[in-house]
Amino acid sequence: MRRRLGKGFWIASGWIGLVLAAAVLADLLPLPGYDETLVGPPQAGPSLAHPFGTDSLGRDVFSRVVYGARVSLGVGIGAVLLGLLIGAPLGLLAGYRGKATDAVIMAVNDIALAFPALVFALAVVAFAGANLRNVLIVLGVLGVPAWTRLVRGTTMAFAGREFVLAARALGVRDRRILWREIVPNVSVPAASYAFLGMAVVIVAEGSLAFLGLSVQAPTPTWGGLINEGRTIMENAPHLVLAPSLVMFLTVLSFNVVGDRLRALTDVRQSGLEHVRRAAAQPLPTAPHTAGGQLLQVADLRTHFVTARGVVKAVDGVSFSLERGRTLAVVGESGSGKSMLIRSILDLLPGSGVVRGGKVYLDGDDLTVFSPQEMRQVLGTRLAAVFQDPMTALNPVRTIGTQVAEPLRVHLGLSRKRALAHAAVLLASVGIPEPGRVLRRYPHQLSGGMRQRVTIAMALSCGPDVLFADEPTTALDVTVQDQVLRLIHRQRQERNMATVLVSHDLAVVAEWADEVIVMYAGKVVERGPAADLFERTRMPYTEALLQSVPRLTDPAHHRLRVITGRPPDLAALPSGCAFHPRCPYARERCVTEAPPLFQETREHLYACWYPRGTEAALADPVPVDPVPAALGDPGPAGRDRNGSEPGGPGHNGAGRTGPDLKRTELAGPEGADNRGR
């Protein structure tokens, strides 16, 4: 808690304490009286005897500022307490009772908030008389609506929580619930707001005082001092600067303290702040050969540096893809599928992310492309469709503007021609009346139509590879098949390659040529679709397959699920990440991470005891001749292996640097080169 509040909080608290102490103890301090004239030469600048100088009557400005703090802080504390005492009960009532009580209180509140507060304060003080009591009451009452709203909001959030609902169901008295359960939870946001409110009231009181409508002379006020000083600003700027500086620092301190207290309760903000900027050094890449494939991904890694540690969202993924083929990426939520796509396309969020590995498009290394060069590739050669068509389109731009944009940017078409082309594109993805749809906004279209629009946008510049990240998950079952057929047909017509991310194995079986199965950021099994489904080796793949409900299952058949939860990426289990959930796990799985083994040239799996083989009993032969698990081969051994590209059964594992040596990897070239 201490650390989370930060240094600024303590400095600000110190200043507030200092000003408060000075205000309270002003009479005891060895200061000249605030209205004692000619304690020094008039209008003298700051000196040892008079740290803030003297005013035109020779009064000590420091003393006047200290006594001014009494008014500022006194009105501040009084008004904040007044607002709290009236506003908090109203807020508790509205938030806890809800319904009609809430409606009435909030309606009145809304009306109260519709007032220009300072003008009203000014008018009331002007009519009722400018003195401490009136200023305090007016500023306090004007603060009530904000207090009510704050307390109501927090109360509502807690009144709906389980422990409060449970207490209510048990018949605990409302008053007891309010005091025991709700008030403690409201107190932190209220404390935060008390400080922010102090800042507001101090400024408001200062404004009134500046206009001469707060506590009257001879009592000094900060606003009054600034107002007095400004008439002789040319000759004695310290008269204005000293109270200005003190006032600024005080208001700033109250704001800082309030803001830090609020950050304590605001999960969103505190999560963001603690993400350190990731180290600039790139992650090492396993040696590999860039082949002639359309798309080749080699040892791709995406690590997030978070407060809880490094999250390896993508951890050494390799594959390659030819024109006209479909690669499916399967796995549970959080397995790194979507992050893999974003990582390939370099669409990662700005800070706290490190990407390693290589992505080749027709042999060109995209990871060394400048952002500008990358933009030439994105949209024109690589295109993407995401899961949720509801969020994939900009809600405030028309369909036409959005579909035509890549055409105008990349192909340089005029607005008119781009729109005409956009209409053709929409028609090609099966959208009726494309001319009308162009003028519509996304929310006016159905989910299926929106997904067709996003597909049309992705296809607009004729990409070579289409990345479809769960393109049908958010759609109706009846629409899912249409969208998949559309993607399939476009792939055939345009001779594109498709990367299809999915957790729906039925979809994968129908459309994919090759499959990679991901678990905790790693590829755990990979191979031609038919082979992988027939000869499943990795227990995780097996579990995924078994969890697909079948029509042949008896009615009320219990759904098979994978037991346990997907792993916490910031704290992965030791050894094989799947072992805590694996029914076949043995001791070795707990201690050592399995490398990728070869079933056939294309079919690889990461498991010590693969299903359906005798290896489930005996240890299998790893792809890598020198897996790190068998002991460190030493740098010489690694170098020798690394200098033999195209060696049989060879891949980059074991040469990824000392800190990564437990990560066994199969580069795509290992399998691919062997047959050449």
């Binding site: 009306i111 220009p116 003008v119 002007a126 993400v275 974003r342 396309l345 295109a383 900009n394 906004y441």
Partner: protein
């Protein structure tokens, strides 16, 4: 929906005008003495009592006052003998120009600041701009004004400290005289706006449609300004409406500080000359204007966000 809003608007207007009217009843002692001073004749007081309807019940007086208000009659000042409406109308253009200029300064600076800060949240630029906004937010408007006068008018002598040239007289001088007040007033708002825009922008930049815009190879500048700004501007527009109250409160101080002959200055001067009817008229004008502008802001929403327009 529109009907609901109109009803609400009417209720708020009734409450606001009633409170403005009731201000006079806050006067301690005999209001006629307060308004006319101790030396006033008994006839003058009797006339005032009758005009203010002090012997009638409060709501009857309010109804009569409201009826007059609707026709634009706010009474005649006992101090200057000028109809209050006339005095206000004469001063109003100055205040409106100040408000518009301040909003232009605030929005014109807040949008680039908010966008620049959100572009790389947590980066150096973001931290510097966030700190700047926090400092501006903690600076009372009169403190800022005094500092700017000290710098630009006293030390560098590039801008006038006080004074006003009407727009009809000389546009150049008019702009010179409004520049410093507008910057002062706008800076406090700037921080509020920039912080809001930054927060919303950061949220927007995490949306799928922004990632997909990047996936289409669009430039960061295009994405920030054409794709992210408008969906992020909704809170900003609300804030512009809601903060108008603070801004109007600020004009009272700014007009006093810079010697501008606006409505705010008129109110302050009238307070000190005990010209209560003019004060009341000014408060009515400002409150009603504020409520109406907020209502208009609600409508502008719809234009910015088509989702609301069709809801």
């Amino acid at each position: 929906m529109i009907l609901h809003r109109l009803v609400r608007l009417l209720v708020v207007l009734l409450v606001v005008t009633f409170l403005s009217f009731a201000l006079l009843s806050l006067l301690p002692g005999d209001p006629t003495t307060q308004i006319l001073g101790v030396s006033a004749t008994e006839e003058a007081r009797a006339q005032l009592r009758q005009e203010l309807g002090l012997d009638d019940p409060l709501f009857v007086r309010y109804a009569a006052w409201l009826g007059a208000l609707v026709t634009g009659d706010l009474g005649t000042s006992y101090i200057t003998s000028v109809p209050v409406t006339e005095a206000l109308v004469e001063r109003l253009p100055v205040t409106i120009e100040l408000l518009i200029a301040a909003e232009i300064v605030a929005i014109g600076l807040a949008v680039p600041i908010g966008v620049a800060a959100a572009r790389r949240a947590g980066g150096t630029a973001d931290q510097a701009l966030t700190a700047l906004c926090f400092a501006l937010l903690s600076t009372p408007v009169f403190v800022l004004g005094v500092l700017l006068i000290l710098i630009f008018a006293v030390n560098w002598q590039v801008l006038p400290a006080t004074g006003w040239t009407p727009i009809s007289l000389d546009l150049g001088w008019n702009l010179t005289s409004v520049l410093l007040p507008a910057v002062t007033l706008g800076c406090g708002q700037l921080a509020v706006y920039a912080r809001l825009l930054r927060a919303d922008m950061i949220a927007t930049l995490q949306e799928d449609y922004i990632t997909l815009a990047r996936a289409r190879g669009l430039s960061p500048r295009r994405i920030l300004w054409r794709h992210a700004l408008r969906p992020s501007a909704i809170s900003l527009i609300t804030a512009i409406g809601l903060n108008l109250g603070a801004l109007i409160g600020g004009t009272v101080i700014i007009e006093t500080l810079f010697g501008l002959p606006g409505v705010g200055r008129l109110i302050v001067d009238s307070i000190f000359s005990r010209d209560y009817l003019t004060v009341q008229g000014g408060v009515v004008l400002i409150s009603v204007g504020y409520v109406l502008v907020n209502f208009a802001v609600d409508l502008v929403y719809a234009a910015v966000d088509p989702r609301i327009r069709y809801a």
